[in-house]
Amino acid sequence: MSILIDILLAILGVYLAMQSLLASRLSQSVFLFFAFGLALALAWVRLGAVDVAITEAAIAAGFLGVLFLDALRDFSPRDTEEQQNLTTVQNSLSRKESKSLLLPRLALVLGLGLFLLIALEAVWKIPEGGGLTAAAETLLPESGVEHPVTAVLLNFRAYDTWLEIGVILLGLLAVFAVGGIQIYRKPIAAADDPLMRQVILFFTPVLFLFGAFLLYIGKSGPGGAFQAGVLWGAIGILLHFGGIPVYSWVPRWLGHLLLTLGLVFFLLLGFLFMAAGDNLFEYPPAYAGLLILIVETLAAISIAAALTAIFANLNQMKKEQPNDTAQK
């Protein structure tokens, strides 16, 4: 009976995914994509992956959603109502064009269909694997935390997590590489909406507290550095919206310090205990819980800083445009 929910959810997810790709307008695409994110988050819940659900909701729907929305402002000159006629003209154009594309399209669809059939058979016939549940269960007491997912993330597979924090920093560096380092500059205009101010002022402490709560609860239940980091990052984004661009208030070195703190501290701690023991990230079991909490806190700060910076840099990227077009 409960399978009905799953079937419905699956259909919803597939439908949303397809529609978000097939939608003729960009804003349609993006909103359907949000909905897809929500459906996916519900799917995680159904599968008992609460950590994943929080992460998905926070970063894939929340953070990425804001980024997409911000991007829409670049991309949708045709989306306003006045220009709908233009869209239909273009649609008919593309229809004419699509005639010549019929054969490759058909080949693509056939190829994908075949691929899908094999994929379905492969996941259907998947042999019983066993997984690592038992192994995680036996080693959990030594890890210093009670929640198995946190234990895997911060202790058993700490190396992956460390690299992942690096990837977030890298994402920021890559964004810098595209648009230059814009975050330390003051933006031109600030918002002056009284209600918005109030909302932001109200939500900032809520976000902070809830983030801290998730960080702390990560020890024993779903939550942890990433979720907390994204929520704290949301503070930065909100403040940016509210006309308080955080980075333009801090000196460059401090901003960079916040950005790299988690990654570097994580590594240095690892090196420290490597000098004592044999291996990187090998914590003495007695202090593991405390160390993990510290590492998580710093990581969350860095993640928050990086996400804010990614958003802020993307948001301010356009300011440079007149210069570039002049060069072009």
């Binding site: 109502e81 006045e82 209600l195 918005m196 909302v199 109200f202 809520v206």
Partner: protein, 102 residues
């Protein structure tokens, strides 16, 4: 069947009704502002009933507090966004009118 379950069922059914009403409103009402109105009012109320039902069902003070907060946040978020959306639409229409006039 325990008494709290009965209460929960009743509250949930009522909540569902409001949700349905909100959705129908979104689908059927002619213009944005009335749709906005239907959705925000009905859904918040629906969520309130469902939250109340679940609080009764779970019957733990901490969970109840959390559920209450969830409802509160949703109220805040949706009322804010309702206002923001409405104002956004209003401003857009105004600017459109201005363009048409000038």
């Amino acid at each position: 069947m325990m008494i709290k379950e009965v209460i929960a069922i009743i509250l949930l059914v009522v909540g569902c009704f409001f949700f349905l009403a909100g959705t129908i409103g979104v689908l059927r009402f002619p213009d944005l502002f009335s749709r906005l109105h239907a959705l925000t009012k009905a859904d918040n109320l629906g969520l309130g009933f469902i939250a109340a039902g679940m609080a009764v069902y779970i019957a733990s003070p901490l969970a109840a507090l959390k559920i209450f907060f969830i409802w509160l946040f949703t109220l805040l978020a949706s009322s804010t966004s309702c206002y923001l959306i409405a104002r956004f639409q209003k401003e857009q229409e105004q600017s459109k009118n201005r363009k048409e006039q000038g």
